[in-house]
């Protein structure tokens, strides 16, 4: 992530969280935090606890973040780069703030006819392939909760549609036949199927490395009838080091009510 990308990300983040931007500069920004964001980012639970007990006037902090060469004239400011703990804290907070959504396709209606919006369940997922090494893949799936049709790269397609938080005029939503939990199960099954078809030489290689080390270990203790405790500890360590596994986590997702032709 380049510095200007970080800058852009931060601007969008604070605006989306309704913080007022007090100073805007290509190289830095000064942000007046909201109470919610102060609690999330500033790590001062005692202050907020005290305030709630005494009923005082909340005074959320202001944050100056520097992303470029220039710093504000009154000095100070935290330099933010891709490795800085503050950015990672902000990244982590987006997971809390942006996990569940419900949106409607925004359809301009001229004929006065009512239009039906179809229920889609979308999830964005991170699949991690892990042994003693690791790789992630991000994917997005949507399932039509009436027909059961599934669509890949669903999020990319959503970004091309006009979406709104409120149901547009003259639109109504169709009730799902498939319960969301069943929808999620069907998507899991699809993901599993796809994973099985993947190339898994990485896992075979990891198992080979594992076997190799285990053979060495066995040879080291081959003369001992009663294996010492640390033989078993070491053996278990090898398992945790090499055993290939795949974890699928949901990043976020939600319900999208879309016109009949939106995903065609």
């Amino acid at each position: 992530m380049q510095q200007h990308e970080i800058h852009h990300f931060l601007e969008r983040y604070f605006e989306a969280n309704e913080c007022s931007v007090e100073a805007r500069h290509p190289s830095y920004m000064k942000i007046q935090l909201t109470v919610e964001l102060d609690k999330l980012l500033m790590n001062r639970p005692f202050y907020w606890h005290y305030l709630e007990k005494t009923g005082g006037v909340p005074n959320p902090m202001a944050l100056t973040l520097v992303t470029g060469q220039q710093t504000p004239q009154d000095g100070g400011g935290e330099f933010i780069h891709f490795g800085s703990p503050r950015l990672h804290q902000i990244f982590a907070s987006t997971k809390k703030l942006g996990s569940f959504i419900r949106m409607y396709e925004s359809i301009a209606q001229h004929t006065g006819q009512n239009i039906a919006l179809h229920p889609w369940l979308c999830v964005n997922m991170k699949t991690s392939y892990q042994c003693d090494r690791k790789k992630d893949r991000i994917s997005s799936y949507g399932i039509h909760l009436i027909t059961g049709r599934m669509v890949e790269s669903f999020h990319d397609k959503l970004t091309e549609l006009p979406l709104t938080r409120k149901i547009p005029d003259f639109c109504y939503t169709l009730s799902p036949f498939i319960r969301p939990l069943s929808g999620l199960k069907r998507m899991e099954a699809l993901v599993e199927q796809e994973i099985q078809q993947d190339d898994h030489s990485w896992a075979e290689d990891a198992r080979a490395r594992w076997r190799e080390d285990e053979e060495l270990l066995d040879r080291f203790y081959e003369d001992e009838e009663d294996k010492p405790e640390y033989y078993h500890v070491e053996k278990e360590a090898l398992r945790t080091q090499y055993e290939p596994k795949i974890n699928v986590d949901i990043i976020n997702g939600g319900l999208f009510y879309l016109s009949e032709t939106a995903m065609s």
């Binding site: 991170k126 999020h155 060495l216």
Partner: protein, 562 residues
């Protein structure tokens, strides 16, 4: 292929709840930001390093990046990091640790270092690598903190031991791992019991010297890599000290050990300029020296010739150092009054310190930061006073200082004083590379100690050339040592890190005793010279062979390009 797929379903329940409650629902922009954040954090490939992108303020040297890649991709995260002193093993370890943490392969981390380095490691991991390491102080830290730095001595003792052995560590880093060479020690046994998923052992001292030691260290990291004891002995052991199939063993060891040498890193090192500065004793100082040398002939000193040797060395440093020793001798043995008191009288007659005068002159002419090394506390105090009298402020430094005091003194020296007067190199991890001048006010008899002194400033980060001034008091034991030992082995020009190998190979760790022995037990000047020559040529021979090997290696490499 049968693979474990684990679906994390925590999200499901919360989603269903929000459906039932009809919200709250997030905004489209926040939803997108969450996905983008995750995209930025996801690891695109099994191979390669992510960490440098997270650490833009650090500039890694090519060999450091190479080490990290090798350890992770070729050694599967179990390795002995054995770069020569000053090439940045700590940086390499931090880089590897960071990489595993970014990839989510390490959360729980244990770092075992010498007690004096706990705070330094903690500080560097936090400030340089943004790794929230915590120094172990209370026993709850083991369980509640994810990255813990501790000394091995604390960790191996109860009640800590049981708690530590119960943790599931993802990475264990052990600094100064050469202390684990002996498998009959408590430390070895403790580390053996730790569950080692990924493991880094850091050591600067090469381990190929004794057959036993390399076997023990590797077996700790990766049991069986060198076979079990029986196979190992059969395959590689010739007798107690020597090896067979050395090439094969080397190959095996290199699969778990990375060792960069200074010359191979291609780094340009600052030049060393060495200058010997002769000191002429004043008449009273000469008298004192002579009367001490005469003590050797007295029957009562026949069995404690060593203390005469010490006194001789002390006179070359300062009358204060010498006086202190005389006083102690007198206290221990009141009967020696008739021999010692006259010498003490001679001490009182000394009116000037020729060396200190020269020091003052030199410090004034350098007009820049200077480190003065002396062997004696009394000299250190005297010099501080003496320089103060002439308007030069100095900072004292001793090995016994607590870590925080060492850091403070370093800070004072850097920002407020021209001179640092140290009685020893200050131990591991003190970096004074902002200074370019060293005065060896008196010489230690162990060349390793000289190397450590110079190593404080001759290291990565030194921007200019390094100047070393050796004081040699004419016609004394000091001058003799300088000529016989140091000038012969070209120590001051040689490369850091070579010497420790040479000395270790010949098990000359007690070189100081060895030299004392030559000094004391030689019947004549000639015999002494022959013995010292032998020692020097022994050291040189080894150094010479290595040098040639390197040149051949370089030549071969060049020809492969042509």
């Amino acid at each position: 292929m049968n693979l474990n797929i684990n679906f994390n379903r925590e999200w499901h329940d919360e989603f269903i709840k929000r459906m039932d409650d009809d919200g709250p629902w997030t905004k489209w922009e926040l939803y997108n930001l969450a996905l983008e954040a995750e995209k930025n954090l996801s690891i695109p490939d099994f191979l390669g390093l992510q960490a440098p992108g997270h650490l833009p303020q650090l500039t890694f040297l090519p060999h450091q990046l190479e080490v990290a890649k090798t350890v992770i991709e070729k050694m599967n995260g179990k390795a002995i990091l054995a770069d020569e002193v000053g090439l940045g093993k700590t940086i390499e370890a931090g880089l590897i640790l960071k990489e595993y943490m970014i990839r989510g392969l390490a959360k729980k981390v244990l770092i075992l270092v010498p007690a004096s380095l706990v705070l330094q490691w903690t500080g560097e991991l936090n400030s340089k690598f943004f790794i929230p390491a915590v120094a172990q102080k209370k026993s709850y830290v083991w369980e509640q903190c994810e990255v813990v730095v501790s000394s091995i001595d604390t960790a191996k003792r109860q009640p800590h031991r049981d708690i530590v052995l119960n943790q599931d560590y993802d990475i264990i880093v052990i600094d100064e791992a050469h202390k684990l060479k002996n498998k009959n020690t408590k430390n070895y046994e403790f580390v053996q019991h730790l569950k080692k998923k990924f493991c880094l052992l850091l050591t600067a001292t090469p381990v190929q010297n004794r057959v036993e030691e390399i076997f023990n260290l590797v077996s700790l990291l990766k049991p069986g890599h060198l076979g079990n004891q029986e196979n190992f002995d059969k395959d590689f052991r010739n007798d107690k000290h020597s090896l067979k199939n050395e090439e094969k063993l080397k190959q095996l060891v290199n699969k778990v050990m990375v060792r960069n040498r200074r010359e191979e890193t291609g780094l340009k090192w600052p030049k060393r300029f060495v200058k010997t500065i002769p000191i002429t004793l004043s008449e009273t100082e000469r008298n004192l020296y002579n009367s001490i040398s005469d003590l050797k002939e007295l029957p009562q000193f026949s069995r404690s010739k060593f203390s005469v040797l010490t006194l001789q060395r002390e006179v070359c440093s300062s009358r204060e150092a010498c006086f202190l020793t005389l006083k102690n001798m007198l206290q221990k043995d009141p009967y020696s009054e008739h021999t010692i008191v006259p010498v003490m009288k001679k001490v009182e007659e000394v009116t000037q310190n020729s060396k200190a005068m020269k020091t003052l002159e030199l410090v004034q002419s350098i007009n820049d930061k200077v480190i003065i090394f002396t062997e004696y506390r009394a000299t250190q105090l005297y010099l501080q006073w003496y320089l103060q009298q002439h308007g030069i402020s100095s900072v004292p430094f001793r090995g016994g200082f607590k870590r925080s005091k060492k850091d403070y003194m370093t800070h004072l020296f850097k920002n407020h004083a021209q001179v640092l007067i140290a009685t020893e190199a200050g131990g591991e991890g003190i970096n004074l590379q902002f200074c370019q001048h060293i005065i060896n006010y008196d010489l230690p008899w162990n060349p390793m100690r000289i190397e450590q002194r110079i190593g404080r400033i001759h290291r990565i980060g030194q921007k200019g050339d390094v100047h070393i001034y050796n004081f040699a008091t004419e016609n004394t034991i000091e001058e003799r040592i300088l000529n016989l030992l140091y000038n012969k082995i070209n120590l001051f020009e040689s490369v850091i890190g070579e010497l420790d190998e040479i000395l270790a190979k010949f098990e000359l760790k007690n070189i100081e005793t060895y030299i004392s022995d030559i000094m004391l037990n030689s019947e004549s000047e000639g015999e002494m010279k022959v013995k010292m020559d032998n020692l020097a040529s022994l050291i040189n021979l080894e150094g010479g062979i290595k040098k040639k090997g390197w040149e051949e290696h370089a030549a071969a490499r060049d020809s492969s390009f042509s």
